[in-house]
């Protein structure tokens, strides 16, 4: 299991705070585990909540770019790298 980078830590905290995941700590979100479905069990309402929080914090509007938000929302790592590329 790889460790969270600084930006991953920051986004893991944002996920936990935004989505009310009281039973999990930011450090427990493994960077390469799926955020949705079998992994953390997030759903489409969470994706909208996160998009809102991300645009508030990083100043850009999130787009899925593919049908099931698969690529970007796949893991903490993919989300973090998308945010790093697009933040303003």
């Amino acid at each position: 299991m790889s460790e969270q980078t600084a930006i991953e830590q920051e986004i893991a905290q944002l996920i936990v705070d935004t989505l009310n995941l009281e039973d999990i700590s930011a450090a427990e979100i493994a960077p390469q585990e799926p955020l949705f479905g079998e992994g953390l069990g997030l759903d489409s309402i969470d994706a909208l909540e996160l998009a809102l929080a991300i645009s508030g914090k990083y100043g850009f509007q999130l787009k899925a770019e593919d049908e099931n938000n698969k690529a970007i929302f796949a893991t903490l790592r993919s989300l973090a790298s998308h945010i790093e590329k697009n933040r303003v």
């Binding site: 995941l21 009281e22 309402i45 994706a47 998009a51 787009k63």
Partner: protein, 448 residues
Amino acid sequence: MGQPPAADSSPVVASDLLRRPLFYHADSVRSGSDLLLDMLKVSAHLGPYEHIINDCADRYFFTVLLLAAASSGKISLLPASHTETAIDALSSRYRNTALVTDNADNTGRDTIQISKIIATDNPPQQSAADIPRLADSQVIAIAFTSGSTGEPQAHPRTWRWAMQEAKAAGSALGLDKNRPKRIVCTTPPQHMYGFVSSIFIPLALGQASYRGRPFFPEEIREALSESGRHSLLVTTPTQIRACVRSQAKLPRAGLILSSAAPLDRSLAEQAEKLYLTQVVEFYGSTETGAIALRRPTLESAWKCFAGIRVKPVHGELQVHAGYLPAPARVHDQVEIIDERHFLLLGRSADLIKIGGKRESLARLNSILLAMEGVEDGAFVFTEASGEQEPRLAALVVAPGLPVKAIQSHLRKAMDAVFLPRPLKKVEALPRTAAGKLTRKALLALLKS
């Protein structure tokens, strides 16, 4: 031509729609005749199968496939989600199924890639006089909702039902064949709300539907900008809330339609103010289809579409419509004003709806209680309020179990939208002397 067509059937694509744009995105449109030709190409590949699982996300591909299957006498199954679990459940429940998809990642046995067929097959020889017809009574599709027993409930749709419901719903929105509008829909076509508004309103009333499924506010903004003024945004309270909260700058829509969950009045007011347009709401259920409309900022009573009548049965709503196989019941508490108007008083306490999906609290509780080490437990529904999406929370008595273990048990047994946020461990549930739990007591314990 041989025999005159039977009166109780109609063409898959009405002849006056052959030159009309019915689907579009970015820079391309698909007309009724494109639809017809592509439908014939796809039909040729469905031969050996009885049931077609329609997994297409693109609304044009979805419609091509739906009509191809129906005109070859096959039934389309509409999975409640694109997940492997939802699709596997259908292929093991129904005989002889093919999965037809526009997702290039899906490559299994009996999986057909629709975009490949449409792009590479030669167009069939076809003249407009030979447009296939469908019998009114033919079941063209089956939609699924979760049932109280665990097995999803199947809801068949006949050709007539789909077309007539769309006509009634579209007319209630002021749509008509002579003044076509563009429709941007955020709900998948496999869901009955998306099915009627983004697939059948175009087929029944010659409107044009945006092929994609915008999801985030930014995507809705882009889709509306591609669609021009006066287009119709078909969406849900969840997405309206996301747009309003992010203050998304949407191009002016002709109308915003909301359904799939109750829209609270203050949210409707904010959306009307921010987007300078009317927000209207459909009432319906998978059992009845959409049946009534209201504008929540102006009225609380629902007005039935033309041809629909409602009656009270034990305080619940019974719906009569010519296209329903039998009068249908909705498990909502209502007050009937007259046979075309009613007020909604509330949902039956056991049934909850999140993200357009319906579930029974009793069933969720039984999943929780079935876990070894769980001594007592209950789900509690926290309703939508202002900025808050409706969600479930759970209170659990399980001294020996970590919260994570309970969460992962639940994750395997239910759709992610029903997972409790939060799941809180407590020493005991606030049961009354009679062993009952009230929502109020559960909410109080949750907050403490």
